[in-house]
Subunit: 200 residues, 2 copies
């Protein structure tokens, strides 16, 4: 390909191919789209990326990604201060906010404990979480971690560390997803749904 087009375009394609969801072929398509829509898409995207490079920061309080520190969520006075939702990743925080189901503060751990991948407590923001809770004012910590082995291991670890603070620690309910069909669910989910059945 080096002889077909300039190295600058090749470089653009290679970088686009490193985005999740884009492979080498779709990266080429994306590059061609960008070049064809120069004014409507390539120029704005270039400047949006430059602004993001310069201004995006990780909130030193909760770990959210924003252009100010503390982030929009941490400095929002309408948020419930007594409720702290712990998530693995910023994507999970955004998912909960899109759903708009909880009015709380957040804490992003930055991952889960994973001995096999060499991720220990020091790689996550667990210390910072314990410090935030110890500062007082929080009456409930909701562990909104993924229902994976690593997620649940992390949940247990965090719960143990929070025990001395006496704060109430809860976790998300397991059960049948809304709109889900029993036939397609795994046994673990069905067992959890039976176990946690509620009065009709």
């Amino acid at each position: 390909m080096a002889s077909v087009t300039g190295p600058e375009i090749e470089r653009l394609i290679q970088l686009l191919a490193r985005l999740p969801g884009l492979g080498p072929r779709s990266a080429r398509r994306a590059a061609l789209t960008l070049i064809k829509k120069r004014e409507q898409l390539m120029v704005p995207l270039s400047s949006a990326l430059q602004i993001a490079c310069e201004r995006v920061v990780v909130c030193s309080n909760c770990g959210n990604i924003d252009t100010c520190d503390p982030c929009t969520l941490c400095s929002d006075p309408r948020r419930e201060n007594t409720l702290l939702v712990v998530v693995e990743d910023v994507a999970d925080l955004w998912a909960l906010e899109r759903a708009g189901v909880v009015n709380a503060r957040y804490h992003v751990l930055g991952g889960t404990l994973s001995p096999l991948d060499g991720v220990g407590p020091e790689d996550l923001t667990i210390d910072r979480l314990v410090a935030r809770v110890a500062e007082g004012g929080v009456s409930e910590v909701i562990l909104a971690l993924n229902a994976t082995v690593d997620g649940q291991t992390t949940a247990h670890y965090v719960t143990d560390l929070l025990a001395p603070t006496g704060v109430k620690v809860t976790k998300l309910a397991h059960g049948v997803p809304v709109g889900g069909e029993l036939d397609y669910l795994d046994e673990g989910t069905l067992a959890a749904a039976i176990r946690s059945r509620t009065p009709f």
Copy 2:
């Protein structure tokens, strides 16, 4: 979402979502990946886009996209001057070059005739193609257009316009794709494969 993260990040996500192959959800994932890999990915991509914005041009001779005009292909002295391959789009040119199956010059039409979409001959580079062939030196024009109704309509139109020049006009063979199974092929392809059968 406006209250969760800065408007700059929202804008980046919206622009990424306009790339082919990325939807709103994968654009968010891509934006988070970019932000997490700031030095390895976001900064290089930002500068690659800026360079592309400034330097990418359409070759005034063949319609290829490059950072020089005439493009790398048009100024390559090792290319066969007598063979001219006509394609709809730059992506088709790149696909043929990746396959490395023909050592020729190219001509990018910029689309196909499509009365329903309001695309007429004046929207394509057909005039320029006829002028290039009329200049002489070309002994064969290969119409490498898509095997769609619009592609074939365009092929007929171009062939008629090229007839006065007396140049040989050929088109790509139709048949069973290499590695393809008969059971999965449509009747049109099977009919073409039978019609154009070759001695074994």
